[in-house]
């Protein structure tokens, strides 16, 4: 049964021919290379932009504008001595970098990288007589695949910190696991709003629904899920201002303190790869992915480029905005304190995303039942405000109880 092995790509069900197999192989290779090159350029981009923001020059020796600096760094790391601490757990110490790297690459597989979504074509392009999408895989679980992968990514960091057999990496790993598990809930709940509006899990389907700016999920879901998703994604990536996992001032270097040489490079690669993937995911979920910008029926068309390639250009432009934003965050925002991090995650983001999800669901039920939208919205909003008031009261009571017990926090 050949459909089992290709179950992840429904395009191939039925007969296994050489052409579709070749297309899949080319796609795998392409996604791998695109991922690596994008990561390389992202590292350079981040260093260059931060340098600009801090009135420095930044990397400028290797290649034009120092664009090959990351390549040089990678080669240097490759030839450095690989140290394994004596008190480490050798098997886990060796395994951890791959547990960080593989999910980073896998998550990239479900991003629609281009294609023509106009005129109801649904992103399908014809390659060698076969209709296919410009994305490695469109699994039936769609976006849930990205969630599953991001929940696996925490293992790499946790095991790296634990297996080092050293205190600071362990502290970094404990922080990482608590932070990533906490924010994953907010990430998944804000994703729920997108799925509710789109009515599908498939990434290609979600992109297909967002044909003009009015249909973009950032508008359709009412902006709040986007903000929550963005904050939760930043925390999930362990990027500033949520980089407590590798707070250099407190933990030497965080979970990767004991790593050197190529193993350290793999962690570094995975981190930046995840940033690129998460930016692409945000664009896919909220900003129409490879869809061109169009208001109403007028579409902003890039001249002289065929529509099938134009999608990739739009995706690139949109992703660049978010990559720049992540760099901007890092250059400007101070790091959160640990209790602030947990307060934000558990007391604001999770109740907020849950409440917003209920509001959207109530509106949808009201529309199906033919109720007055204004009444439905205001009643739901009142209920939610009441619920939030109860939550605040509960927090106040527990704070008073804690202080009575003599706790100082």
């Amino acid at each position: 049964m050949s459909s089992v092995i290709f179950a992840i790509d429904p395009m191939l069900e039925g007969n296994v021919l050489w052409t579709p197999l070749l297309i899949v192989l080319v796609k795998v290779l392409l996604v791998f290379v695109v991922g690596l090159v994008a990561t390389m350029l992202m590292v350079w981009f981040e260093r260059k932009v931060i340098a600009g923001m801090q009135n420095r020059v930044g990397p400028n020796k290797a290649g034009p504008w120092g664009i090959l600096q990351t390549l040089a760094d990678g080669i240097k790391l490759f030839f450095k001595e690989d140290l394994i601490p004596e008190r480490s757990d050798r098997f886990m110490f060796r395994l951890a970098p791959y547990l960080a790297l593989v999910p980073a690459f896998l998550a990239f597989a479900i991003i629609p990288l281009g294609g023509d979504f106009r005129d109801g074509k649904g992103g399908l392009v014809t390659l060698f007589g076969h209709q296919t999408r410009l994305q490695l895989a469109d699994p039936p679980v769609g976006v849930l695949f990205a969630l599953a992968i991001s929940s696996i990514a925490v293992y790499g960091i946790m095991l790296a910190g634990w297996s080092s057999g050293s205190k600071y990496p362990l502290l970094g790993a404990v922080r990482a696991s608590a932070q990533m598990v906490s924010y994953e809930a907010a990430l998944g709940l804000s994703l729920g709003a997108v799925l509710l509006v789109s009515g599908t899990l498939s990434t290609a389907g979600i992109v297909n629904m967002q044909s003009s700016i009015g249909n973009w999920n950032i508008v359709a879901t009412g902006f709040v899920p986007f903000v929550i998703f963005l904050i939760a994604a930043t925390a999930e990536l362990n990027r500033p201002p949520f980089d407590l996992v590798e707070a250099e001032q407190e933990l030497v270097g965080g979970f990767n303190t004991e790593y050197s040489s190529i193993r350290f490079a793999l962690f570094f690669l995975a981190e930046f790869m995840n940033t690129v993937t998460m930016s692409a995911l945000i664009v896919t979920l909220f900003f129409g992915g490879p869809q061109p910008i169009s208001i109403g029926s007028t579409t902003l068309d890039i001249p002289f480029i065929p529509n099938a390639i134009e999608g990739t250009v739009w995706l690139l432009l949109k992703v660049l905005v978010f990559l720049y934003m992540y760099v901007w965050f890092r250059a400007t925002l101070p790091r959160f304190r640990y209790d602030q991090l947990m307060d934000l995650g558990w007391k604001i983001l999770i109740p907020g995303s849950l409440g917003w999800f209920m509001l959207l669901a109530a509106q949808r039920v009201g529309r199906d039942a033919g109720w007055d939208q204004i009444v439905v919205t205001s009643v739901t909003a009142l209920v939610l405000i009441g619920g939030y008031g109860l939550l605040l009261a509960a927090q106040r009571v527990s704070r008073v109880n804690r202080e009575k017990d003599g706790a100082s926090f």
Binding site: S2, P10, P140, I152, W162, V174, A407
Partner: protein, 179 residues
């Protein structure tokens, strides 16, 4: 092909399960558990139950075992256990008897119900390019219509468990810090 996937997944599940029991280091045992859970997810995928596979990975591998590891690291019990010491006397012979008994019951149940195994129910919808969500729609309809009471009761049970844990873990006020 189906047989090949089954053999690989079954090997993963069994190797992981053996690892959980035999590894003396708790972290290694937890990682073996992850291997088992992944094997089960692969089996779900090979039976076209993609949603269950995703949920299996998100909930079990992504949240529950991470919590196990978190507790192991936080409590510092990540030292290798000495497996030659028995904390409860006669633990091993008892475990062997119970294990054999449970296997016998399971095998008896399978043999006695073998007639029913051939019959096929409605099954999960094969997902196609036109409706990749058919699988999930079907599952949602069953959970939120026929079994909605069981579903809601389960969520209440979980809530009770959470509240109960908090109540039991709270320190007695009279023996609080600094008193």
């Amino acid at each position: 092909m189906e047989l090949f996937v089954f053999v690989v997944a079954a090997a993963m599940v069994l190797a992981g399960a053996l690892g959980v029991v035999t590894r003396s280091n708790p972290v290694h045992a937890a990682m073996s558990l992850v291997l088992t859970l992944f094997g089960i997810a692969v089996m779900f995928v090979s039976h076209n139950a993609h949603f269950l596979a995703a949920v299996q990975v998100i909930v079990y591998a992504g949240a529950i075992v991470v919590l196990f590891l978190f507790v192991i690291m936080l409590l510092g019990v990540d030292k290798a256990e000495d497996l030659s010491v028995e904390p409860i006397t006669n633990q091993r012979p008892l475990a062997a008897i119970i294990g054999v008994g449970i296997s016998a019951i399971v095998i008896a149940a399978i043999i006695s119900s073998r007639a029913g195994l051939g019959a096929s129910g409605e099954g999960v919808n094969e997902t196609t390019i036109d409706s990749p969500d058919a699988n999930i729609r079907q599952l949602a309809r069953v959970i939120f219509s026929d079994n909605v009471f069981a579903f809601e009761i389960t969520s209440v049970l979980l809530l009770v468990a959470v509240v109960g844990t908090v109540v039991m873990a709270r320190k007695n006020k009279s023996v609080g810090i600094g008193k």
